[in-house]
């Protein structure tokens, strides 16, 4: 689609051509064996699955046997949180999370509340970070788990999980980190960082949709109650036939992400900075999220005095998000931006820009020009509203 500019890579990324090529090898008439089958076709698929497991492990400094395949990050987050709580006995258990987590964490914790789990919902600071001292202060003797995202999907703000992890380890509390927006963007070394559970999604780093992984630490062992029962796949933690092509795709995507991370991060940060400069020169444009702790690939801005719906309607050639894709169907102002202290109107009049590997400076300039024109026009139509 010529002229269409995709600045929505935090929602999903296109498949890398190398990933696609690797997947196709497992969609042909030799690659279809069930990885659980005890014959040549099965063994061949199993070997590919294990090679991919090693690639994903390498991206985050883990070992292969610590990687559990899931159908995506939503399942990984559900498995981590429900699995940990259920294993320890949900009754009277306490867990700590924040108000700015992804919907899959928020909804899982809300569900657990209905099952008798006590949940502490931490507020972010105005920059969108969850302060480590607040987490520590919220701990109780019966706290089983802290679930905190590494990088927020709407604002791109980085949480101090590296600072938090050793403190929780000392206290014997499990730490689950939703690293969906961090993987491939920030360096992750779980050999050095005592995180117990960590969720990944392939389609956020140029891999396929429908596949993700949960890191489950072996030493000390993080114990989970399985959430999908059946044939006993994935060390009994997640049953179900493995989708070889998806897994192979995630493996190649992880290898590419590891190799390209530093370069990608530098380029994306420069593109976001370029866009920010061109848009914040307009009056009444506010950055959502702490610039000092920003992931390289996300820029979130609020535009004072205009209606968010009208703004997006005037940007038909620009793929951007208002809030997360998952909640955009509900068209409610982002709960993340509300938690940062933005009022309904400012939260509603926000755009999330997330460039990707294929984004060029000319795309950024064209996008900035379109947004500036739309904002200018809307402010002209409703002067004084600002």
């Amino acid at each position: 689609m010529s002229g269409f500019i995709d600045l929505d890579h935090a929602a999903t990324t296109p498949l890398d051509p190398a990933v696609r090529a690797a997947m196709l090898e497992w969609l042909d008439d030799t690659g279809y064996g069930n990885p659980a089958s005890d014959h040549a076709l099965g063994r061949r698929a199993r070997a590919a699955v294990e090679a991919a497991r090693a690639e994903v492990a390498a991206l985050i400094g883990a070992s292969s046997e610590e990687i559990i395949w899931t159908s995506g990050a939503t399942e990984a987050n559900n498995l981590a949180i429900k699995g940990a709580l259920e294993f320890r006995g949900a009754e009277r258990a306490h867990l700590i999370t924040s108000r700015i987590e992804h919907k899959s964490v928020v909804d899982t914790c809300r569900y657990l509340e209905t099952r008798g789990v006590r949940v502490s919902w931490l507020d972010p600071d105005p920059g969108g970070r969850i302060d480590t001292a607040r987490v520590i202060a919220a701990l109780r003797p019966e706290t089983v788990l802290v679930s905190l995202m590494w990088v927020n999907n709407e604002t791109g703000t980085i949480n101090p999980v590296a600072e938090l992890a050793p403190l929780l380890r000392e206290r014997g509390v499990l730490l689950h980190v939703d690293a969906v927006q961090a993987a491939g963007k920030l360096a992750i070394d779980l050999a050095a960082l005592p995180i117990d559970l960590l969720s990944l999604s392939a389609h956020k780093f140029y891999g396929p949709k429908g596949i993700g992984a949960l890191f489950v630490r072996k030493r000390p062992r993080a114990r989970l109650a399985p959430q999908l029962h059946g044939g006993g796949h994935e060390q009994g933690m997640r049953s179900g036939t493995l989708a070889t092509h998806q897994i192979v795709g995630m493996g190649v995507a992880a290898r590419l992400a590891a190799a390209r991370r530093a370069g990608d991060a530098e380029r994306l940060a420069a593109l976001c900075a370029r866009l920010e400069r061109q848009l914040t020169s307009l009056p009444g444009v506010l950055r959502n999220g702490d610039a000092a702790h920003a992931a390289p690939h996300i820029l979130n801005l609020s535009f004072a005095g205009i209606d968010g719906e009208s703004l997006r309607a005037r940007l038909p050639m620009l793929a951007v998000s208002s809030g997360s894709a998952c909640s955009s169907a509900t068209r409610e102002p982002s709960y993340v931006l509300r938690a940062l202290g933005r009022d309904d109107r400012l939260a509603g009049a926000s755009l999330r820009f997330s460039p990707g590997r294929a984004t060029r400076e000319t795309d950024i300039d064209a996008a900035a020009q379109q947004v500036r024109a739309a904002v200018g026009l809307l402010r002209e139509l409703a002067p004084g509203d600002a």
Partner: protein
């Protein structure tokens, strides 16, 4: 290339299905929940696939919930219903582990029991009626066709009993869909699970069909996808593939059935010429593509390895259970002696198999039988 006789474990992807998936592995990618243009194209494709799958199994498109496969669909049905309904959980003694283990995982909080089958693997109807009479039952889970023996259950008969007792019926149709006619309404099912990779579609996608009145608690919380019943970004390429695979299965069902049944009959005629071969559930209706048999005195795993070396891919039962060298729970439930069950081999045929392959398989088996008879002391 080995001769593939393990279609109940998984099927090759139909080239026409791959063709339909390709655009979604490159061009109009997008998060189906996003509102922008790429997202709209993806959403249209997902809804079209919903209609195609619905047409295969005689339900409404709105009754379909996408899942990551049959295991998730079965878990969602059993646990999702258990979370909102009081009463016991009953499951057939020969159910797939995804149903059985999902039910047993709830055994700590409620009464869970298996329903016996007879020597042919058919549900013991009087036992089911007696269990239903013992007080409130939330859900009865019975499979349309068994993955190991291929035994087909008369579920319309089950549905009448189950509904009379105020319970819901969940049907695992993973092996049946695309092999025999499956009609959600005619079966009287309340829930039904499906898997794409058993009908020449991609792995990693399945569906739970559920009547609108059936309330469920989701397994994957988060996001409004699938009416709040299953959070997570849609796997668009796989959904599109499942849709096309379902449409092809509907169009070609009769031809596929005829083809595999003819091969199965040829295979069974061949097996009958081998001394002592026992075909399980030979006297009842089975899937046209499935035959499970044992050569008494031989270990199924050892035979499987020999056949693999000779270029034949078969199974000793369910692919999920491989690694565990325990006799099949399906055969044990049918009263088969453990030493016989340990020798079981499952052949499951597909559209690409030929009469020559079947003949070669039987001859290979005959040769192995002769040589193993000389070297192995029968148990």
């Amino acid at each position: 290339m080995p001769t593939y006789l393990d279609h109940n474990a998984t099927t090759p992807l139909d080239a026409r299905v791959l063709e339909a998936m390709l655009p979604y592995l490159s061009g109009p990618y997008g998060n189906a929940s996003s509102l922008h243009r790429f997202g709209r194209a993806a959403r249209d494709a997902v809804e079209r696939a919903r209609e195609q799958v619905a047409a295969l199994v005689g339900c409404q498109p709105g009754e379909i919930v996408w899942t990551s496969g049959g295991t998730e669909a079965n878990n969602l049905a059993v646990k999702g219903v258990a979370a909102v309904r009081r009463g016991r959980l009953l499951y057939g003694a020969t159910e797939h582990p995804a149903v059985m283990e999902a039910a047993l995982a709830l055994a700590g909080e409620r009464d869970v029991a298996a329903v016996a089958v007879d020597a042919q693997g058919i549900v013991d109807w009087s036992a089911l009626a007696a269990q239903l009479a013992q007080g409130p039952v939330a859900l009865v889970a019975l499979m349309r066709a068994n993955n190991e023996t291929g035994v087909v259950q008369d579920l319309a008969r089950a549905a009448a009993l189950v509904h009379e007792a105020g319970a819901w019926l969940h049907v695992d149709a993973v092996q049946a869909a695309g092999r025999i006619a499956v009609d959600f309404r005619a079966l009287g099912a309340d829930l039904m699970s499906l898997s794409s990779h058993k009908l020449y579609g991609p792995k990693g996608i399945g569906a739970l069909v559920r009547r609108a009145e059936v309330d469920l608690v989701p397994l994957h919380h988060g996001g409004p996808q699938e009416k709040g019943l299953r959070g997570g970004t849609e796997n668009v390429a796989a959904i599109v593939g499942f849709g096309v695979a379902a449409e092809l299965a509907r169009q070609e069902l009769e031809r596929r059935t005829r083809h595999t049944l003819a091969l199965r009959e040829r295979l069974e005629a061949g097996l009958a010429t081998l001394p002592g071969v026992r075909v399980f559930a030979a006297g009842v209706e089975r899937l046209p593509n499935t035959v499970q048999f044992a050569l008494p005195g031989f270990d199924g795993e050892a035979l499987l390895m020999q056949l693999d070396r000779k270029g034949f891919a078969v199974s000793s039962g369910s692919a999920c259970a491989s690694g565990k060298h325990e006799p099949s729970h399906v055969l044990l439930a049918m009263g088969v002696e453990p030493e016989i069950a340990r020798g079981a081999i499952r052949v499951s045929l597909g559209v690409d198999n030929t009469a020559e392959q079947i003949d070669a398989f039987v001859e290979t088996l005959r040769a192995l039988h002769a040589s193993l008879s000389r070297t192995v002391v029968p148990v």
